[in-house]
Every structure is written in C-alpha cells, then in structure tokens.
C-alpha cells in the first residue's frame, strides 16, 4: 500500500472521469481495473468532495490541509487525518496519482 506524505502533490488520474451532476461528485472508471464490478461508479461524501476540489496538480497535501482548515475553520489535526484518509482511499483505487518531478 502506498505511503501518503503531506509534502506530496497529487493529481486526478487519467484513468477515471470525474463529473459533478446535481451536486453529486461522481467518479466514473474509464479503464479496466478501477472498479470491481461491471456497473460500478463512485461518489464522494461532502468532506471528500471538498478535498477533491483541491487536487490541482500544484498544491501539496500540506497546502490543501492549510487551505481547507482556514476555509472551514476546522481542527488542523483532524483535517490532516481527513486528507490522508481520502488520498489513501483514492490512491489505492488509482483515482489519484502522485506528481513526480522529472
């Protein structure tokens, strides 16, 4: 399982398509192997959605934590747990990938 570090920058994988429909954020697998079932898609809960919108391929996870802590006046440590938790889930499913400098 991938280790998630706060200094890493993540971006949304090209293997999925993310759509926002009627306030739902929907993640649709594009290539084989993302979902387990033929007819599967994924949605994010409200916390996940707020974090997802910060994945721009530029901000590190630490910067995302700082941004969201300020925006939602949330506890910093709790925010770290949320961001690491979500990225862990997404990375395991190949929905986000770490940006590696050339």
């Amino acid at each position: 399982m991938e280790n998630i570090h706060l200094e890493t920058i993540y971006k949304i994988s090209d293997d999925i398509v993310a759509r926002e429909i009627e306030d739902e954020l929907i993640i649709v697998p594009l290539v084989a192997g993302i979902g387990d079932l033929e007819d599967e898609l994924f949605t994010l809960n409200d916390t996940g959605k707020a974090i997802w919108k910060q994945f721009d391929g530029k901000n590190s996870l630490r910067e995302i934590v700082t941004n969201l802590s300020q925006e939602y006046a949330a506890d910093h440590d709790e925010m770290i747990n949320d961001v690491l938790g979500l990225v862990g889930e997404l990375a395991r499913r190949r929905m986000v990938i770490a940006v590696v400098d050339d």
């Binding site: 009627e22 033929e38 809960n45 916390t47 938790g85």
Partner: protein, 395 residues
C-alpha cells in the same frame, strides 16, 4: 469536516444516485446508422450497407460528439448506440471513446460481425461499463444465414462473440425466434448456459413493422413471420410460473386505466432518441414526423424542456382507441403505444389488433378475463386483480 467513508461505491442503476433530484437527461439513445451488413428478413429499420443516400445524410462525427457533449452537460450517465449496425461507422471507436471520456457508460446493440481484435481490445481496455447486447439469428450457418441473407455472416458473428469472450467482456445474447431458426432455440439455451457470466435466455418475441413505413412488401413479410397467437400463448404457458411470481409487483405497476392521454404511464420523453440523421424523438419507435425534432438546429435542453412536455400531453382522438384502449385495464401489459400505432397504421392512436389479442389471450389464461370478454368492458377489474394476487402462492 468530520464525516468518514469518503469514497462511496454505487452502481449506475442505483435508484438513489440522485435521490429526489434527477438530472434533466439521465440517458440518451443514439442510432448511429440505419444501414446494416445483414439483410434480415424481419428487420424494422435496416437499409443496405452501401446505401450512399442514407450514408450521406447521417450525422457527422462532430455532430455526434456535440450531441454527446450536450447530453453529458444535461447529466446523462449512459448512452446506447444502436442501428442498423452501429459498427459500420468508420468513426465508431472515436465516438465511443468520446462518450466514455465524458464519463458515460455505453450500451451497444450489435450483430457482432464487425468485432475485430482491435475493437475487442479497445473494449477490453476502455470498458463499456455495460453488457454488449448481441442478436442471435440462429445456431447454425444455414439457419442463421437464412435470416441474415448474407453468406459468411454466421462465421463472422461467432468470431466476434469469441473475441469478446476471450477478453471477458460482458455480453447479452438475444435470440430472435423466426421460422428458419425454430429448431435452434434449445441449443441456444444450452450454449449460453455454458458461457461465463450470468447469461439468461433473452428473446425478442414481437416483430415490428418498418418504423419508416417505407416498404409494404417488407411489412407483408414481417407479418407472415410473426408468431401466431397460439404460439405466443404456448410461450406464455411455459413461463407462467415466473410470470405469476412477479404478479404482485406487476399488479401494482401495470393495472390502471390510461384514459385519453397517450403518454400517461409511458416513459417516452423521459430520455431521448437521436436517429441516424439527427432527428430527436421521445422514444426509439416513435418516428411520427410531428413527434420528431431536428437536434442539429435545436438544443437538446430546449427540446426536452419546451417541446417534450407539450407532446406528452397529446390526447387520443381515434374513436376506437377511446372506446377500447383508453378504458382497458390491461393497457399496461399490452405493447399498444403511439410508437407501435405509428409503425402499424401511420397514426398515434389506432389499436393494434395483434397486440390486443395476445394480451387478452394471456389474461384469459391467468383467469382475469372470461372467454369472449373484452377487458374494456370489465367494471370489477380491481376486484379481479386483487383476487388473482391473493390466490397466488407466496414466492
């Protein structure tokens, strides 16, 4: 920011996906062409593969992409590509990938003859997220090609199916019962039982007339090929137990009086169909010119929000329909609809006798109708339905 379980798995079919707030357009049907590489004896739509007039009128790649873009913007999560044979389009892969990259799942209706290794590989990599539905016209070269009227079509069909199975791409095989393949049905059931996945026998039992109303000769042939009422009844008897098991839920949904509004209790207009030339229809069968709108000159949003709601209020005026169908509690079980009426009679509201007779025969077997009785004359139909449901053994 405290809720956990960030990623939630769902399915496209999940009814609660947009609970109480469905998108304007959940699904779109697109007929990519009316041309086909088969020339099936029973087909309601096919034109010759090399029909240059039809080909020239078909939507361009860019027009199709624009319709897909509009559909996705309106919330569509799925598209069905059908035809004719949709794989005849040279740009099929491009259109397919465009739909998938918009985040839509794709349903494909095909005869499988044009499933090449390259195309199967594409489906293997970029999954459709849906089963490919393949029509089966026979289990042997002679019976299959007596239907398709194209030499070599059977071998190509089997190779296409094998290429998909080799890559574990989910498929549904649909048997089309016709006189030339009448001895193949059991073999078909055995074949699909041995295939991976949960393939259940699927049959296309009612043959439609030409929906373009373009060939009286072909219509005569199609009528001759239809199962007789007796054959329909025999099929029903064979599946009666399954039917009865589902009756409690059917009863709630499908027994009602429709009245004069043609589209009441009908899904037409909840999704849209685009024909091969860009005409937007409320359903695939409904090709009446007054019910078709040019999607290259109007936006889908305008058609869905301004035109379809008005069309859905259309009233029947055919006296025979008003006397019978409007007052018939079996209409929800009968395929009578404006689309069938159009292909049979060129109107929206003429009763289709064949459908009426089949439905009455089925319901007599269930005991809902007495011999010689017409459903529109039954005043105590609610009581009869309740009695039927109560008499059924609990599943």
């Amino acid at each position: 920011m405290t809720d956990k379980g960030f990623v939630v798995r769902k399915t496209f079919e999940s009814a609660r996906l947009f609970e109480g707030n469905p998108p304007l357009l959940p699904h779109i049907d697109i007929e990519l062409t009316e041309r086909c590489n088969n020339s099936c004896i029973h087909c309601y739509i096919n034109l010759p593969e090399n029909d240059s007039n039809a080909k020239n009128r078909e939507l361009s790649t860019d027009q199709l992409k624009d319709i897909l873009d509009q559909s996705a913007a309106l919330g569509a999560l799925s598209v069905r590509f059908s035809g004719g044979e949709p794989l005849l389009r040279k740009d099929f892969s491009e259109i397919y990938l465009h739909a998938r990259r918009l985040g839509m799942k794709v349903k494909l209706f095909t005869n499988a003859r044009l499933i090449t290794d390259e195309l199967a590989d594409l489906f293997g990599t970029f999954r459709l997220l849906n089963k490919i539905e393949i029509s089966v016209y026979g289990m042997h070269k002679d019976s299959y090609e007596a239907v398709t009227r194209v030499k070599g079509s059977y071998d190509e069909f089997r190779k296409g199916v094998d290429r998909l199975l080799d890559r574990e791409i989910p498929i549904i095989l649909k048997f089309v019962p016709l006189p030339p393949n009448r001895n193949d049905r059991e073999e078909f059931v055995e074949w699909i039982a041995d295939l991976p996945g949960k393939n259940k026998p699927t049959y296309m039992s009612f043959l439609m007339l030409r929906t373009r109303r373009d060939s009286e000769d072909k219509n005569k042939l199609i009528k001759r090929l239809r199962s007789s009422i007796e054959e329909q009844v025999a099929f029903f008897v064979k599946h009666k137990t399954e039917y009865c098991n589902n009756m409690p839920q059917y009863a709630e949904k499908f027994f009602y009086l429709k009245g004069s509004k043609l589209f009441k209790h009908c899904g037409a207009g909840e999704t849209v169909t685009i024909d091969a030339y860009g005409q937007c229809q409320m359903c695939m069968l409904l090709r009446h010119p007054e019910m078709s709108f040019d999607a290259t000159k109007n936006t889908l949003r305008d058609i869905i929000t301004k035109v379809f709601p008005r069309l859905r209020e259309t009233e029947a005026y055919n006296q025979n329909y008003l006397r019978r169908c409007a007052k018939c509690f079996l209409l929800g079980f009968c395929d009578q609809c404006p689309g069938y009426s159009w292909s049979e009679h060129g109107t929206l509201d003429t009763p289709v006798e064949y459908l009426c007779q089949v439905t009455h025969a089925h319901m007599r077997l269930l005991g809902l109708l007495k011999e010689g009785e017409s459903a529109w004359e039954v005043a105590d139909w609610k009581e009869r339905v309740d009695n039927l449901v109560n008499q059924l053994p609990t599943a």
